[in-house]
Symmetry: C2
Subunit: 554 residues, 2 copies
Amino acid sequence: MRFDLWGTRDEAKPLSPSITKLLSRVMGVDTDRDNTVEADRIVLSESRLGEAAKAALGKIVGEAKLTQDRDQRMARARGKSSLDLLEWRAGEEISAPDAVLAPGSEEEILAILEYCSDNRIAVVPFGGGTSVVGGINPARGEFDAVVSLDLRRFDAIEDVDPVSGLATLGAGLSGPHAEMLLADRGLQLGHFPQSFPYATIGGFAVTRSAGQNSAGYGRFDDMVRELTIVTPRGVFHPGKQSPASAAGPDLKEIVMGSEGTFGVVTRVRVHVHPIPQVKRYEAFVFPSFAEGANALREVEQQGTGPTVIRLSDEIESAINLTSSDAIGESSQAPQGCLCITVFEGTFEHAASRHEETRNLILANGGVSAGEAPARKWEEGRFGAPVLRDSLLDAGALCETLETATDWSNVPRLKAAVGDALATALNDSGTMVLVMCHISHVYATGCSLYFTIVAAQDDNPLEQWRAAKKKVSQAIEANGGTITHHHAVGTDHMPYMTDEIEPLGVELLRGIKRTLDPAGILNPGKLLPAGSGKCASASGESGTGQAGTSGSSAR
Amino acid sequence: MRFDLWGTRDEAKPLSPSITKLLSRVMGVDTDRDNTVEADRIVLSESRLGEAAKAALGKIVGEAKLTQDRDQRMARARGKSSLDLLEWRAGEEISAPDAVLAPGSEEEILAILEYCSDNRIAVVPFGGGTSVVGGINPARGEFDAVVSLDLRRFDAIEDVDPVSGLATLGAGLSGPHAEMLLADRGLQLGHFPQSFPYATIGGFAVTRSAGQNSAGYGRFDDMVRELTIVTPRGVFHPGKQSPASAAGPDLKEIVMGSEGTFGVVTRVRVHVHPIPQVKRYEAFVFPSFAEGANALREVEQQGTGPTVIRLSDEIESAINLTSSDAIGESSQAPQGCLCITVFEGTFEHAASRHEETRNLILANGGVSAGEAPARKWEEGRFGAPVLRDSLLDAGALCETLETATDWSNVPRLKAAVGDALATALNDSGTMVLVMCHISHVYATGCSLYFTIVAAQDDNPLEQWRAAKKKVSQAIEANGGTITHHHAVGTDHMPYMTDEIEPLGVELLRGIKRTLDPAGILNPGKLLPAGSGKCASASGESGTGQAGTSGSSAR
């Protein structure tokens, strides 16, 4: 990944003339301006890691595994939200980690965390760097320095148990690398978020990644059996007693979603399955989003068993059903809402699931559109973020956001989010294209995923921050979760108190106090207001905060 | 429920002459001795609730809802493990709660918890009283008094959303009462643990109940969308952002399994589904347990979709396939391992799931035994604990225990547990019948449920405690969880440090400190060693423990 793009320069495709014309004529994007940026013009913060710390940390990981190289620090300075990508283009100084460490064992990580706890150094665990919520952007906070802890050397597959369908994967394995190691053994994980090409196993776990096959294989948090997490207080293995247990609260559910604020996940034991014998595809078109959503609900509540099931609204469907060269050209946009289904498993299993699902969809107003749109979706499934690179370079604003709610609340939430996006961006003086789809279904509700394309104004960072604030407020006010699968990071942190109540925030702070008493781990993320720096309740913190009292009782 | 039995006196069936003869001749049980006990001969601890506390608590809940009546205190003095039932028969003084409170609102509970926090009174939340691990037995600990907080007035159904398949159920509703209220609306919860006739919605949640339909509808913790829990620090509603969220750790997973030690669960929002159109039944017989277990594994890993699937080992199968009058009579015990399957849903869904499952079972060595054994199992599914009443009264020792493990580890764990039970009970001078079944299957493993019948020796309490200790050690040493669905209570508490590691215990203690700083909630349960009395880290505890320092960092 290039520092200022999702993908590489080679992957970036120039926009088709018809899209360029649409951006220019309808939205008023100045497509002639060059919005690309060169690496050597970036102003990066100076490294503030002292010589003593450098020597000490270098001794722990080996000198070759600690670097202050500019390119390495740049590559770990920002995630991949549109705000991140726009920041590179804005010309301001970019805060980068003061050094990058690449430890090779849990013992080394424990020693790093102990040293950093005692020496006022913040630590940001780093996997694939694909956060779209500011999750890996280094925040020095009140610490003297901040280092990026790269997990790339945790890249092994261990303890494969094909009978139980279990394998332990290194947290630093990327999606494709993990699938390759499993495929050598005839196995598959089946977790395909849009970030799959770059994101890592550890990142999937600590952000509660959903994955496009969630209908069939569950979310990543459903697949996890056990985690190894290195905390400043020691190494911990929640989940070892599974497949299921009544031995108290489920502690692995505390680690999942913790976004590097409680410890560094190094290994994840996951459920894996045999590579499916067959995949079957079928697309359908519904007359309306409401009818389509109702069919998806029936499918999930009756358990007819698709591996993938998705539904785009009218606008997204029109775009998906039009070839990219024809976008903006045709006066006759395709009508209706596109639904994609995929079925995997043994021949018999996939066929019976396909038939039962198909019957239910047809009974609920869907009309078959054949295999082609479903196969086309699968082929292009990881491509949208690369298209965003081209749109941002062309001066368009492009971003996604997501939420989830009960089935009965889907119409209200979809309308509220769509209105908030349109109003906020229209107020900034641009037309906006708002697209929406359902990509994850549950018995009691579903996700809603929104994509917007608009014109950048003079300050696109502030333009999007203002719109994001309005839409986040609309989500909280209309029964949605602030994030279904993008996680919290910095961008959703202001909404966490609403989301989990003040007592929930206090619970998380208490957990952080137990595991990370000095508060060095990924400060400024997940936990709102002051929680990066944890008040040490026991007065034994090594960060000079001794004596600060804990939160009061009642 | 009678205080010293699982069921009522009326439900108790005399043992058949053949079973009595078996107990007497083979095991040496003295079946002529009368082991029953009369209520008026029980020595109950005196109530130690002071007049001031009585007046204050009576003012909160209303005088009529606070009682120190002997029968009411007796009914909440012990759960329903065999140890509990044998204790009534042992003639020693029974510790009972000092009073029973029945609050009617969250506000009243909050006021109770605040008063008790300030006045050194322990509080034991009480649902159906069916704990088989000592979970509701009142432990005064270092407190001045202990009260039982009965949730029976939380018996409403609220906010039913049939579209999303959601309903909020009062924590005090029993299984049958909840199903009756749902059935009025054409809905079903589908959670049927063996304790179903008496156990409550709140109890299901805080003990992670599994339920005999877990293959189809999931464990109870899978069904929960949101909980309302009243803690001494306030009312909390974890899970409100579901159906699924990436907004940090899943805090409802901290409440589930907390066994009343963090707060009082008053309402549970659960996934419900339409009452199935049809139920289909089929039993199968496998030549061996290993072949049967392998077939169950294939069924679950391929997702063929039974609602119920169970497999008994050779000894349990022989007993299940023999009519109770014939037990001990026939020299030709039935051969093989009995497997029960049930399928529910729409006609089409149940039929296709039945066919796919049946084909896979037949391909894996199963032979159909028709519908009858499956229907017979369902009819008698809640009857075993009542039979235990008769066995205990007849002088036999009868108890169950359970664990779970990976599929690949099933043979090792089953053998180790069976050996430990046989050795320990043989050492106490009795023959023992050890039966085992798989009743809950997961993609990566399954549960193992053991039932033993032996002769009581002179001190059956110590006899079983010794055997339980040996078998618990065997479970921990052989890769099992100390409890798959019975929860921790007091009986499994000594094994929690092994189960979740010292850092896990410390995490739970930290959570308790946040929610219950005075440590009044169900002390002596779940958290090992000193955790009933929580060291108050912030020095603001109301229990006179101020100044005790928290656990040290690193």
